[in-house]
Symmetry: C2
DNA sequence: AAGGTATATGCAAATGCTTCTCAATCTTGA
DNA sequence: TCAAGATTGAGAAGCATTTGCATATACCTT
């Protein structure tokens, strides 16, 4: 796989996938998003650039991009997936229980411990999910 | 809250909730389960003890027990929640990607790190979710 | 032990999110 | 420019879960 997302359009082509107006609109939305939008949000935003985008295409494209490693799917609260581009460094999430805000963080030490624990249990980690749910310290 | 699950029936009463045949059947299933059954599995098993249990009651009871802290809800793969009694020590999960088996583990060091990270970000952790997905080391 | 009342249940319909079906429309390599 | 095949929009279909409502039941009070 190429460097995920340096040039999504180019990557698409490289994977033998067609570059369509809708896909470009969706990729654009993801690039602009600083939050972790839901499929519905992505649909709304993509339609600002291209009103023809349909719900089905958003889901199909997100699934495609996820499989390609370009997009990450998060299931924070169990009521709808939230997406983000996989172009930055790997990170985990801290969800603010009061505001719903999502803070990203990265801890090599935790990653290290995870690997050790898995090894002790006889496993190799393929991926992991770490989510902290909390409230701002008073 | 009383010691969750030492005596679920007693706890139910204490919370002003009625002790019904169905609820006892569902609690029994959860106590016997060594896996992390889905709602559907719980329904099937509960019906062995009480054929009258309905799907709706399983969901309603699980929601109630979760709110009471008696039951933990897990969303490992995004296709259906899996439940377990909250009577044992807190633990996280390692999911075997090949077999779907769920291994439980507990690491005070990771918990410690999580708290530290949250503190650095200005948060107090209310709860967290850590799931490792991997395969057996050859 | 019996009764009354609010809670709990079963059934089926309704949700919410996501995926699929299919004819019509594009993208792309030649 | 064209043909072949991928992609799309619209709506139907799927799944897990929730809800509405009439009936049944637990349990507090006689």
């Amino acid at each position: 796989m190429t460097d995920a997302n340096a040039h999504p359009e180019t990557d698409l082509r490289a994977d033998g996938v067609r570059v369509t107006r809708q896909r470009l609109a969706i990729l654009h939305v993801l690039r602009e998003a600083s939050d972790h939008p839901r499929a519905e949000d992505i649909l709304t935003r993509a339609r600002q650039q291209d009103p023809s985008v349909s719900q089905a295409t958003v889901y199909r494209t997100l699934a495609m991009l996820e499989k390609a490693g370009t997009v990450l799917r998060n299931e924070f609260d169990g009521s709808g997936a939230r997406f983000e581009l996989a172009d930055r460094q790997h990170h985990d999430h801290l969800i603010d229980l009061d505001t719903g805000a999502v803070v990203e963080f990265h801890s090599p030490r935790i990653e290290q411990l995870q690997a050790e624990i898995a090894a002790e249990l006889g496993y190799d980690i393929a991926w992991h999910r770490l989510e902290l749910y909390g409230r701002k310290t008073p």
